[in-house]
């Protein structure tokens, strides 16, 4: 093949040239390469020399092959490669790349080329454009908070225990020492399935179930969904999430309850958090208490979140009532225990500054995307 023939062929497609098999294509490229090497030998200057007429001639040779508009390789790329049938593209592509690399080696950059390169660079994409992101998913804020709480207790040696959401009246009330006529049964505002079955109103029934299953000693936390017959508003949801804790052992005291929950509060709300315990009433604990923490938002100085009291009530707790232990098959003279219960939804609201519990269950991506 002569230079003239190549000039002609570089304006045609592979199909026009009848090069439909790889070996024909390879042969074609081999011919081009021979011509390129011929020109390489005509170069007056070595890659390191410069100046004068020689340089102008070298530049002419370079233009012959690499000119951005009329260079032979530009034309080959345009006509052979871009129009090649799909199965032939790989072969043609690889051959062309080799050839182009060789041409760049023979005709290295000079000032004019650098200028051309610069012009070319301005047609490169704007690298300040945003990257192509693969969207990441996210855990629900309630799950995030639930896991965080679970992990604090798991690190203290507790295991996670679970129970049914459809629960018997026995486990939900009777076994927890809530007598049939006690006003607190009204307080729970229970959703009934039938006279003997409810949607559990708290995670406490799992206390008795777990005691029956494992006996004492037992150190567990119980996360899960609970239900009450509350009309939905910004602070109430008929479906909500609780975490219950239960520690039953031979020497478990109120002091352990205080120390452990104090540790939990400092881990979860910040190490400067102080806790305060005051009496309360739950049928399944005795003595019963509420835990208040120094407001983490104002350090106890008073703000909207703590209603300007400096303190926020965060959970109910107490020593497990002897009747509950007995229902679980554990001798209250031999073992004692403590328990606590907290609302995960409320913790998530506090942690993230969410003012409406309904947001958790609307599934709005503008909400979910923030956590």
């Amino acid at each position: 093949m002569t230079l003239e023939e190549l000039r002609e062929k570089s304006g045609k497609t592979l199909q026009d040239l009848d090069a439909c098999a790889p070996e024909e294509i390879l042969r074609l490229f081999e011919g081009v390469r021979e011509l390129l090497e011929q020109d390489a030998r005509q170069l007056a200057t070595g890659p390191a020399s410069s100046g004068g007429q020689d340089a102008a001639r070298d530049e002419e040779l370079r233009e012959r092959w690499l000119s951005r508009k009329r260079g032979l390789l530009t034309l080959i790329n345009e006509h052979w490669l871009k129009a090649a049938p799909k199965p032939l593209k790989p072969v043609a592509g690889v051959s062309f790349n080799k050839l182009h690399a060789r041409a760049c080696e023979i005709f290295p950059d000079n000032v004019a080329v650098a200028a051309g390169r610069k012009a070319k660079a301005s047609s490169l994409p704007d690298l300040t454009l945003p990257g192509l992101r693969r969207p990441l998913g996210s855990l629900h804020p309630i799950t995030q908070v639930q896991r965080e709480i679970e992990e604090i207790f798991i690190n203290l040696g507790f295991s996670v225990e679970r129970g049914p959401e459809i629960e018997s009246v026995y486990y939900n009330f009777d076994a927890l020492n809530i007598p049939e006529s006690h006003p607190s049964r009204d307080d729970w505002d229970t959703l009934y399935i039938d006279a003997q079955t409810v949607l559990r109103t708290h995670t406490s029934p799992v206390q008795v179930r777990a005691l029956e299953k494992y006996g004492a000693p037992l150190y567990i936390i119980i996360p899960g969904k609970c239900y009450r017959r509350d009309n939905p508003d910004s602070t109430h949801s008929p479906m909500f999430h609780q975490i219950e804790g239960l520690a039953v052992g031979p020497n478990v005291t109120f002091a352990d309850l205080k120390g452990t929950l104090d540790f939990f509060a400092r881990r979860f709300f910040g190490e400067k958090t102080r806790t305060s315990f005051h009496p309360s009433f739950f049928p399944f604990t005795e003595p019963s208490g509420e835990v208040a923490i120094s407001c983490p938002f104002c350090d106890g100085g008073g703000c909207r979140v703590c209603k300007h009291s400096g303190w926020i009530e965060v959970m109910g707790c107490g020593m497990v009532h002897p009747e509950v232990l007995r229902h679980g098959g554990v001798d209250p003279e031999q073992y004692s225990g403590w328990a606590f219960g907290l609302g995960v939804d409320r913790y998530a609201m506090m942690k993230f500054g969410i003012d409406d519990i309904q947001l958790f269950f609307q599934s709005d991506v503008r909400f979910l995307g923030q956590f």
Binding site: T143, L191, S280, P287, S363
Partner: protein
């Protein structure tokens, strides 16, 4: 409950500032919701737990403050002169149902002048949230707020036969109560009756006909003790919650009845004139006594983890009016007072000690539980599955377990668990499927112009099995709309398609070691045929997924195609996981060859894959379909498949002869499915081409 500070001071010298009083009450377990000014007085809104009806009065609160601050509780003022006429000559009391009425005390005051109360009384009642009525009715309310004992005043002239009977209502008996409601009563409800008819719904509300009016001259004051359970049921059945029923249902103080009665009689005499007749009628068939409890010092230590000095224990209990006697060196015999019905066990006494000692003063000790060696696989698996889904771009959602019957029926034929007392029809059944919640979540966002959605929910479904038992099971739901690749300056957008969802499921399921996972190309009825499928393991459904049929999508007003999946999460949580053991990879280069195959249209890809796997070709490392097309030069009975195959050996570099032999083995296996190389006669397979090499191409 509202507490007036000035009233409180009549019973105890409240020390310190308001803040100190607030802190003191909180530490005793009496929450102070608000403190506000009421004229010159200060009003405290306190929250009393349901076990402490004794604190539902000024005197009860004062007793707690007195015990906490070591101050004496002042006496109740009772001043009146009895007249010479005996009360029981004017009225008689009989308890016919002692199981519902354990004590009934009454006094008669004659020649009263009913008129508005003096200003001080009206102010006090208004401060604590009660409307002044007249001097007699106001006295009963005043004593209720002061001592916690509900009282009632009857116009004695309207009491027929001057007889007071405490009896069960007759079936269908009627009574018009003070609120003007004509009520039908039932036999489990206790009434106060005269010789002929019911005159009050005992412990709940009086009757209109015996109400105190301006013309009332003689008053019968009632101070009684009614059974808490019965009052609670009656109040609930009649839909009537009053200050009186609130206290009786929690348990009033049976020994307070005569004192409260005398206090009221004195006040009536003072405010309405009149004469208090001699003697209180007191019908108390069986005197109640409190049990004596043993309190051991050792038990205090065992429960509280602290030693409270014996002297402190005694002082606390005595200041709360418990009787305390030493029982040996390290124990006491303690009798709780009549107003502390909540104290029935040793541990209740320990709570009293802890409460007044101060929870915050008790010691605190971090407890480390002995950790168990068993791993919590459920928690671990749930986290792992969540991790995969989050990395695939799914956001977790939580939707309601309670949905409408219509929605359940739309997606599932399972029998639903129905709520007896739902909040609304829309939330009256437990969900038998997670799809309605998922679709509602998609719609919520689509309605707000947020189209590119990928959600997952891990939750339960609930149903009744063949035996009618309520069951629950964990499921995983996926929901997708919008783009797989969103529109951007870098390239074209692409919508989510079947294979995007299938690919996500494959990424999830490949973690598990299934024995015979297979794809059934008929998806659930809620999906479009040809765009849905189901995974089964040994005939057991694991996952069902696809594009929602148009009618359902329209029903949920989804303006773009929606894809969902329902996966049996509980199965995945329990399924064995793919073994994670290291398998050495070859040190020798692999060789890649492309096979351009002509495949009969009826042969699905999965059969090709099975045939290759069964071909017993040890050099076969992997294979994948890289191109597929129909039509053009092909007849309609065939399609063309470009299969990329990787060969390798663990102990040598494969020679071209070995590769040709291995290729032949694979082609032979495919030949049984009538698959052959494109352009070749079925009988004579030739060597296939490498993808990017110089070897021969198929024409």
């Amino acid at each position: 409950m509202r507490i007036s500070l000035s009233w409180l001071k009549e019973f105890v010298d409240v020390p310190g500032s308001t803040d100190e009083l607030k802190a003191c009450l909180t530490n005793l377990g009496i929450g102070v919701e608000t403190v506000s000014h009421a004229g010159e007085d200060l009003l405290l809104d306190v929250e009393v737990t349901t076990n402490r009806p004794d604190c539902l009065s000024h005197r009860g609160i004062a007793r707690e403050i007195g015990a906490a601050c070591r101050l004496p509780l002042k006496k109740v003022q009772v001043n009146f002169q009895e007249s010479a006429v005996a009360a029981d000559s004017r009225a008689s009391v009989e308890i016919l149902s002692p199981e519902l009425c354990a004590r009934y005390c009454a006094r008669v005051v004659t020649n009263v002048q009913v008129k508005p109360s003096p200003a001080w009384m009206g102010r006090r009642l208004e401060t604590v949230g009660m409307r002044p009525i007249n001097n007699v009715a106001d006295v009963t309310n005043y004593v209720l707020m002061e001592l916690g004992q509900p009282l009632h005043a009857f116009d004695l002239n309207s009491i027929r036969g001057s007889r007071i009977l405490a009896r069960r209502a007759k079936a269908g008996e009627r009574l018009k109560t003070l609120d003007g409601v004509d009520r039908v009563l039932a036999p489990d409800q206790l009434v106060i009756a005269d010789a002929e008819r019911a005159v009050a719904l005992a412990g709940v509300m009086g009757g209109e006909e015996s109400e105190i009016t301006a013309s009332t001259r003689s008053v019968l004051l009632e101070s009684a003790w009614f059974d808490p359970v019965s009052i609670r049921r009656t109040a609930k059945a009649q839909g009537l919650h009053t200050e009186a029923s609130h206290r009786f249902e929690r348990g009033a103080d049976i020994e307070m009845a005569p004192l409260a009665l005398d206090r009221a009689a004195g006040l009536v005499a003072e405010l309405a004139g009149g004469e208090v007749l001699r003697g209180a009628i007191d019908v108390y068939p069986q005197v109640r006594s409190r049990p004596t409890l043993l309190l051991r010092e050792s038990e205090i230590v065992r429960m509280l983890g602290a030693e409270v000095p014996g002297g402190v224990v005694e002082r606390i209990l005595k200041s709360l009016e418990f009787e305390v006697k030493a029982n040996g060196a390290k124990a006491w015999s303690v009798t709780p007072p009549s107003f502390r019905l909540d104290v029935t066990r040793e541990v209740d006494l320990i709570e009293e000690v802890a409460r007044h000692f101060g929870y915050d003063r008790l010691p605190s000790r971090l407890m480390i539980a002995p950790p168990r060696p068993e791993r919590d696989l459920i928690r671990q698996r749930e986290s792992e599955i969540s991790e995969i889904l989050v990395s695939l771009g799914y956001r977790q959602i939580i939707t309601s377990s309670m949905i409408s019957p219509a929605e359940n029926a739309r997606f599932s034929s399972k029998e639903a668990v129905v709520l007896q007392n739902p909040l609304s029809q829309e939330a009256s059944e437990l969900r038998t499927t997670p799809l309605p919640g998922m679709l509602a979540a998609l719609r919520w966002n689509l309605d707000r112009d947020q189209d590119d959605l990928r959600f997952y929910e891990m939750g339960k479904i609930y149903w009744r099995n063949e035996k009618g038992q309520a069951c629950e099971r964990r499921v995983l739901a996926l929901g997708l709309t919008g783009h797989q690749t969103p529109v951007s300056v870098h390239g074209e957008a692409r919508d989510i398609g079947f294979f995007d969802l299938k690919g996500d499921l494959e990424a999830l399921l490949q973690r598990f070691a299934f024995r015979a996972l297979c794809l059934d190309s008929t998806g659930a009825a809620c999906y479009q045929p040809g765009l849905s499928a189901a995974y089964e393991e040994k005939g057991r459904p694991i996952a069902s997924f696809g594009r929602l049929v148009e009618e359902l999508a329209a029903g949920y007003k989804l303006r773009v195609p929606a894809w969902t999946a329902e996966i049996d999460l509980e199965f995945l949580l329990e399924a064995p996981q793919r073994a994670r053991s290291f398998k050495a990879f070859s040190r020798f280069p692999a060789v890649v060859r492309d096979f351009s195959l002509t495949v009969p249209s009826r042969i699905e890809y999965t059969r090709i894959a099975e045939a290759l796997e069964r071909a017993a070709c040890p050099e076969l490392a992997s294979f994948a379909p890289v191109d597929l097309f129909r039509g053009a030069s092909l007849d309609s009975a065939h399609y063309s498949l470009l299969l990329r195959v990787k060969f390798e050996s663990h102990d040598r570099t494969l020679t071209s002869e070995e590769i040709a032999a291995a290729s032949r083995k694979l082609l032979d296996a495919l030949a049984s499915l009538e698959i052959h190389l494109r352009g070749e006669a079925p009988a004579e397979p030739t060597s296939p081409r490498p993808p990017n090499s110089k070897s021969k191409f198929q024409a």
